[in-house]
Amino acid sequence: MSKMTLEELRKLREAKKQEAAQRDTEGKDTLVIVGMGTCGIAAGAKDVVDALLDELKKVGNENVIIRQAGCMGLCHVEPTVEVRSPGIPNTIYGNVDAEVARKIVRQHIVDGRLVNKHVYDKPAADIIEQ
């Protein structure tokens, strides 16, 4: 990474936006976002990530990106995991432990079926329009 000029910053922003849009339209990849604030980690988010990685290896799925993020605000049901999978509405899972994480991989990502009793609602509709 080198120092950027204004032009380069704008180019980078556009490129990154396009990348994200492309991912959405091509519907190839699944994005899994794990809440990894101090609160999430304290609730066991690290075990969740390990279980997700392990299970993905087992089912041999290469098209999944796992990303860490901060606290989403659903502290009462941490650890939280958001799954954005093609053909399925974006889903937020709460109270996820290693076992539920494995279920998310097998049931949601592989079979396209939501995992019972762990679906939660987003804390807020996004107002910063993309």
Binding site: K3, C75, D121, P123
Partner: protein
């Protein structure tokens, strides 16, 4: 096998009691009967929050939002919505007769607006590219290439942003003081010394979106003409510190921090200073002293830091949440920001909702929302069917708001007018099991610990108030104590040097105001109705109800409960420490509190 629809049935405990389970079963049954089992998946979910309109059923991807659903409605939902693809109009949630069923148009969802937390939980805080992709550093672009310092101040003034540390001073005005002063050196400081019990908004912001604070401080540097900044953060936040450091390094590598930002002649750099976790260091003058390497003690104002701050130089100092608003204000304009909130309190406020509440968590709501909406709509109400008693806002500086204030709009001025204050954003919900004397005592204890001792009103006042409360909680108070506490509280408010001492009596005064009867009960009858004040409580076992299951005896930390299996147990009162473990563990209601 492709699933076409997902039917989500709210399975939160409120809706469970409101037949959520029966609805789930009837939906399954109806799907089977109508032969669409393979096209849809019916899912039990967690609580959606909106309990007063429960049970809720959502159908995806149509985004149909059905409220107050009964088990008999299942047939219609399946036949209309799933088989024919038409929404069931009579069950859709409607606002004032509008046919809005998209969640983003439903007011319940609009109760939260995310500006500060716009990226929290969405982006990887350790990746600058993801921040940039979400319009990050756009505000800085504008500040560097399009706006003059005066225009930046104009945008801030138009936005109506007020300090989110709790006092609510207009940010644009604060910056303009520093901007106007001629000086060879100016500083920008971020106050990340979050210390209120039960508050963690700033930590979440720094952990989830560190770049927003870095960008805002750089904009501040450009606006007031500073080339150095410091983030003062408590050492108890290791993850926030780590992510800030990573973010700063990335910004430097990309040329967004350091010398000649984005190729311009403007240079600005930041450093992190760790606080040792003294509550008083959240007071700006004490904080600056602490950065200078002195003991963190406040000094009288004026001069304000805006004119004479860090090392005696003009300094802009704001709290994390205030900064997190700024990049969006600059990139989208002050007018855009001013459409949220109330006339005098613009924008949103982040609260850490904790205590006796179903959906505890981090919420961001537009200013002017009522307490009722926060507690019952977003928070989902009180767990276990208990009765709501009060909300404590503003930490040790704030007060309690009772049921009478549930419809008070939450903004800077109306909270002050009812004897509390915005504070930094801790919101602790209390139910009938909380004793108000105990709550006031807790906050006073905190202030006694945290008073820096520089001025007598605070050093002596907090201690004396605590002693009186302690006496009352032991049933030894007398009626004159109430007036004594009120007088002392008023004196502290007037005479203390800084905000800590000036606001320390608030919890006590507001409890005396709102719950005088409960305090008097402690004094006159030696009774604590919530069973929290140890010296006024006695636990005993009702022989007729105890079946001798031995659970309480095993739970008791001091082994003062004796009895054989299947025989009623007895508590040895001389050894009981009144921890209440037996009461909590008994499944038969045999442990009595008196």
């Amino acid at each position: 096998m492709a699933v076409k629809n997902y039917v989500l049935v709210c399975g939160g405990s409120a809706c469970e009691s409101a037949k959520g389970n029966d609805i789930y079963k009837s939906l399954l049954h109806q799907a089977e009967v109508q032969g669409v089992s393979n096209d849809l998946q019916i899912v039990k979910t967690g609580c959606f929050g909106f309990c007063e309109k429960g049970p809720i059923v959502k159908v995806l991807p149509d985004e149909a939002f059905y409220v107050e659903v009964k088990p008999d409605d299942a047939e219609e939902i399946i036949s209309e919505n799933i088989v024919k693809g038409r929404m069931v109009d009579r069950l859709l949630y409607k606002e004032e007769g509008k046919k809005d069923f998209k969640p983003e148009n439903i007011k319940f969802y609009q109760k939260q607006e995310r500006i500060v937390l716009r990226n929290c939980g969405l982006i990887d805080p350790e990746s600058i590219d993801e921040y940039i992709a979400r319009d990050g550093y756009m505000g800085l672009e504008k500040a560097l290439f399009e706006l003059t310092p005066e225009q930046i101040l104009d945008e801030l003034n138009k936005s109506g942003l007020r300090g989110r540390g709790g006092a609510g001073f207009p940010t644009g005005l604060k910056w303009s003081f520093t901007q106007r002063i001629e000086s060879d050196q100016k500083y920008v400081v971020c106050n990340a010394d979050e210390g209120d019990p039960g508050a963690y908004m700033d930590r979440a912001t720094l952990e989830g979106d560190p770049h927003s604070v870095i960008e805002a401080m750089t904009i501040a540097g450009k606006c007031v003409g500073a080339d150095k900044g410091a983030i003062y953060i408590r050492a108890e936040y290791p993850l926030a510190i780590k992510r800030l450091e990573i973010a700063m390094d990335q910004a430097r590598e990309r040329g967004l921090l350091g010398d000649n930002i984005l190729g311009t002649d403007f240079s600005f750099d930041l450093e992190i200073r760790l606080g040792a976790g003294a509550f008083v260091c959240g007071e700006e003058t004490a904080l600056l002293a602490s950065i200078e390497g002195k003991r963190g003690m406040p000094i009288p104002k004026p001069p304000f830091p805006a004119a004479k701050g860090l090392f005696g130089k003009p300094t802009v100092i704001n709290n994390v949440e205030t900064y997190a608003n700024i990049p969006v204000i600059i990139s989208k304009g002050g007018d855009w920001f001013a459409q949220f909130g109330t006339e005098k309190s613009k924008g949103t406020k982040v609260f850490a909702l904790t205590g006796k509440i179903k959906n505890s968590g981090l919420i961001e709501v537009p200013m002017g929302i009522t307490l009722r909406e926060i507690v019952f709509d977003i928070g989902g109400g009180i767990p276990g069917g208990k009765k709501f008693k009060a909300v404590q806002t503003g930490g040790p500086s704030g007060g309690v708001l009772t049921e009478d204030f549930l419809d008070t709009p939450i903004d800077f001025d109306s909270l002050i007018s009812v004897g509390s204050m915005m504070g930094s954003g801790g919101m602790i919900v209390m139910d009938e099991d909380d004793c108000m004397v105990d709550v006031a005592k807790f906050y006073l204890d905190f202030c006694v610990e945290e008073s820096c001792g520089k001025c007598a009103p605070c050093r002596i006042g907090t201690k004396k108030l605590y002693e009186i409360l302690d006496k009352i909680s032991k049933g030894k108070g007398d009626i004159e104590d109430l007036q004594k506490m009120k007088d002392m509280g008023q004196a502290m408010k007037k005479a203390s040097l800084c905000g800590l001492g000036q606001t320390a009596p608030n919890p006590v005064l507001s409890v005396l105001n709102a719950f005088e009867d409960e305090v008097l009960e402690h004094i006159h009858n030696g009774k604590c109705r919530a069973g929290k004040c140890k010296d006024l409580v006695q636990y005993s076992i009702d022989e007729s109800k105890c079946i001798g299951c031995t659970v309480c005896a095993r739970k008791c930390p001091v082994n003062c409960i004796t009895g054989d299996r299947k025989v009623a147990h007895v508590i040895d009162q001389s050894r009981c420490v009144k921890c209440g473990a037996c009461y909590d563990s008994c499944k038969f209601g045999a442990v009595l509190v008196s």
